[in-house]
Structure formats: C-alpha cells, structure tokens
C-alpha cells in the first residue's frame, strides 16, 4: 500500500511537471504566441508537480503501518 501510493505520487508529480512545462510558453521564434502560456497558471502546475514528486518521500515515511492502526 505504502509503496504504490509513493510511486503514484512520484508519477503524478512527474506528469504534472510535464503538463506544466509544456503548458507554459512554448519554445520557438520570438512571436506573440510563444510569449504566452498555453493555459494560465501552467508554471504553477509545474511547481506543484515538483513539490508533489518530492513529498512522495513524506508520504512514504509518514504512512501509519496497517498493524497498529
């Protein structure tokens, strides 16, 4: 249970990072389109992704054992 929750969070974090990064302003020529993000607050999503991926470690440690619940 602990293992796959952590794995899920890491994967989720990475996905969020990818979505955030690709959602932000695209690389390419200096044009009006490339100066705006594809969707608003995309960088926020990227940052959340990084935090989620890292806090997987928190979850991994802090998950209470099934035994003494």
């Amino acid at each position: 249970m602990r293992r796959n929750v952590t794995a899920a969070m890491i994967a989720g974090g990475i996905v969020l990072m990818l979505v955030g990064y690709l959602g932000a302003a695209p690389w390419g020529a200096d044009t009006v389109a490339n100066s705006d993000p594809r969707f608003s607050f995309a960088p926020a999503v990227f940052v959340i992704g990084v935090i989620v991926a890292l806090s997987a470690a928190l979850v991994y440690e802090l998950m209470p054992d099934r035994r003494n619940k």
Binding site: P43, A44, V47, I51, L54, Y60
Partner: protein
C-alpha cells in the same frame, strides 16, 4: 507509544526552550535590523526604486541590478552548500559529519527564504511579480529555472529533508513535558524508532539525497545561466559562469556552516558535541573548494588579459586597476589568505576552531565581493555601444533592506534553535529520566 515518563520537570537538552540573555540580545538586535529593513522597503515602495542607487544602463550610466541581485546570488549560493553537505553525509555515510547535518539543512532553508525575498524586493512590481511568475513564467527565460527549480522545488526538498531527518529527535523531545511538547509531537508524527521505521527513513533520506544533488546543481547552474547566456553583456557572457557559481556557492556555504556550528557549540555549552574532526573535515572541504575557485579566477583573469576586444579591456581595466580594483583584490586576498591558513592547518593537522571561523567569515565576504564584481561592472563598464562609463553605489535604502534580510535570517535561526535541538540527540547522550 513510548512509555510514559514521570512528570518531573527536567531541562530540555541543548538549551532548547531556555532563553538566555545572550540569545535575547542577539534576537533583539536582529529584530532591530528587520525593522530597519522594513522601513527602507516601505520607502522604496512609496517613492519607487529611485530611492535606490540603481539607474538604467547606457545613457543613464548606471547599473540596473545592484546590491539586491548580488545578495540573491550570495544567499542562494550559501543555501546550496548546506543541503549538499547534508546529502553528501547521507550518501557517503560520513558518520563523523552527522552532527552538522541539521545545521546545514537549517542554513539552506533560511538562506533560501532570504534569497527569494531579495529577488522580490528587487522587482519594480513586487506583488504582481509573484503572481505573474506563477501565471506566465516562460521556460525560455533563465529566470524560469531560478523561480521554479531553485525557489519552489529546492525549498520543498530541503524542508522535507529537514523534517524527515528530525523526526527521530522530535520523538525524543516529545517525551519532555514543555510548552513545545505539542510542537515536538507534531514533528515526530508518531515516530517510534522501530527498526522498520529506521530502515524506511534510511531509504527515503538516501533517495532524497540522490535526487537533491542533481536538482541543486541544475538549479544553481540556471542561476549562473542568468548571467552566462547574455551576449549583450561582456563580462557576463561566458561558459565559466555556471561552474564558478556552483563552486563559490560551496565556498561561501561551507564557511557559514563552520561559523554556525561554532555558535551552536558554544550555545549548548558542550565542546564535545562537535568534535574537532568535524571541523577538520569542513576545513579540508573548504580548502578544496577555495583552491578550485581560485583556479577559476585565474582562468578568467588570463582570458580577460590575453588579447581582449575593446569592451572586455575596458571592463578588465576597471576590475583590476580602476573603480572596482579594491573589491577585486580584496576578494582575492580574502580567499587566498584563508586558503593558506587552511593549508597550514591541514599539513600540520592542528586545526584551530578560531582560525576556521575567521576563514569562514573571510570567504563569505569574498563571495559577496565577487558576486558584486560579476553583477555590476558589466553594466557600468560593459556596454557594447560606446556609452560613457557609468557608476553605481548602493543607497541607504538598499543597505537597509539587506540588513533587514540578515536580521530576518538570524531571527529564524534563533527561533529554530530554541524550538528544536540543532545537534542530533544521538546515542552518545542517552536521554534518561533525570538527564
């Protein structure tokens, strides 16, 4: 749950919770600095950044990035070294360095917060700055790395590492009845030092350390790229910026860890807590980094002097002989002298803590000087079009705000060491009922 211990009031270890007069004095002074900083910042907000000494590059002959950006790079540099050492301790299992791990992590978190605040005070539109970065930040800009990886990602990583690393001691502290008991219990979050928990902690801290090191190198390099990628600014444009940033960050960070470690050692009145071997290791680590950085400086100097185009010549003249010469040679001296001192101690294996503190402070001053020399001269003396040479000197507002940031940092560190033991409550000091 841990066995109930009797309620006889015993002093918490490592002076936690005891507000000694020395501590109160330091905190009072820091608070004063913070007030100065806030007053200066309000002045800057109301009249605009004309209150600072910064002016536009080019026709206005000023520098648009000054003391604030210098301090941003310095703070983030120091924070980089902290967590790196903590991570190295974990990865290479340097048992004798375990005592300073938490100090290093603490340093990272505090200086990272000071660094991000320094960026915000430098913005023309501070409030809109934070919102727009989350909303519109563009990956093409080197700031994206600084904003997302350095501030957000790296801050999260160090907080998590500090929190998890401290749960075991928090559990011990939670046994003491004190005003902080609920805080300690929250921090321990049910840690009961069972073998599985210990194994699980070892695994997480290992994997965390393994991810933190590359994250840090990338983050600080992007900070280096903020300057290194600018073709339009002679003196900035160069491949050496990123590695030089990382090295000087290590130098300044290690220096401050030594200083903080000595303060903590005196604070807990226990010379044995941090053995001389810890300082020896730090001293050697610092020496290695300083030598690497001096090597980088010589490389940079030779490239500048050999057969430079006009603009770089104008810049190097200003750096070596002109307006900024005293900072340049001052910084070099503040790096070289400690290096010699450390070399002497390393060879004779007689490490003197007082000398190490002096070296620590010296390299940090050199770091601030060198950061200033990277940021400012390229603006006042590095215009590709032949504008007149400019000048920049920080105004009281800038000094006030920077002092305020230091005050804030000191307050945070002071508060932490009184709420939580800076040194690990390891097996050596068995916690018994009657302490």
């Amino acid at each position: 749950m841990a066995t109930q211990i009797d309620t006889h009031p015993t002093a918490l270890p490592q002076q936690v919770g005891q507000l000694t007069t020395g501590w109160k004095l330091a905190m009072g002074a820091s608070f004063l600095l913070l007030v100065v900083g806030i007053v200066a910042f309000i002045r800057e907000l109301s009249t605009g950044m004309i209150a600072t000494g910064m002016r536009n590059v080019g026709t206005m002959g000023g520098a648009s990035w000054g003391l604030y950006i210098t301090m941003v790079v310095y703070f983030i540099g120091v924070s980089f070294a902290g967590i790196t050492i903590a991570a190295l301790v974990r990865i290479f299992n340097l048992r004798q360095l375990r005592p300073i791990a938490r100090i290093a992590e603490l340093l990272t978190v505090v200086f990272l917060l000071m660094g991000s605040l320094a960026i915000i005070v430098d913005l023309g539109q501070p409030v809109r700055g934070v919102i727009n970065l989350f909303r519109y930040a563009r990956p093409q800009s080197p700031f994206f790395g600084t904003f997302s990886l350095v501030i957000a990602g790296y801050l999260a990583a160090s907080l998590i590492y500090l929190y998890l690393g401290g749960r075991r001691d928090a559990a011990k502290m939670a046994e003491y009845p004190s005003r902080l008991q609920r805080f300690h219990r929250w921090w321990a979050a049910g840690y009961s030092d069972t073998p599985e928990e210990q194994a699980r902690h070892r695994k997480t801290s290992f994997w965390l350390a393994v991810t933190i090191i590359p994250l840090l190198v990338i983050a600080t390099s992007t900070l280096g790229f903020v300057f290194g990628l600018q073709v339009g600014r002679p003196g900035w444009y160069g491949t050496l910026q990123a590695p030089a940033f990382v090295t000087l960050a290590g130098v300044s960070g290690t220096g401050l860890i030594i200083v903080l470690a000595v303060i903590v050692r005196r604070m807990v009145h226990d010379k044995t807590a941090l053995g001389i071997d810890v300082f020896a290791w730090l001293g050697k680590f610092l020496l290695a980094l300083v030598i690497v950085y001096l090597y980088f400086m010589t490389v940079e100097l030779l490239t500048l002097l050999y057969s430079t185009p006009e603009v770089e010549k104008q810049l190097s003249d200003a750096l070596l002989f002109g307006q900024y010469a005293w900072i340049y040679w001052g910084s070099v001296a503040l790096l070289a002298i400690p290096a010699i001192g450390l070399m002497w101690q390393a060879l004779t294996r007689r490490w003197n803590v007082g000398w190490l503190v002096a070296a620590g402070i010296a390299v940090n001053l050199a770091a601030i000087g060198k950061r200033f020399l990277i940021v400012v001269p390229s603006q006042t003396h590095g215009t590709l079009l032949p504008y007149e040479v400019g000048s920049y000197s920080p105004s009281w507002v800038e000094y006030g705000v920077v002092l305020g940031l230091f005050g804030l940092g000191a307050l945070m560190i002071g508060a932490f060491v009184k709420a939580f033991p800076p040194l690990p409550l390891g097996d050596r000091e068995e916690v018994t009922a009657d302490a």
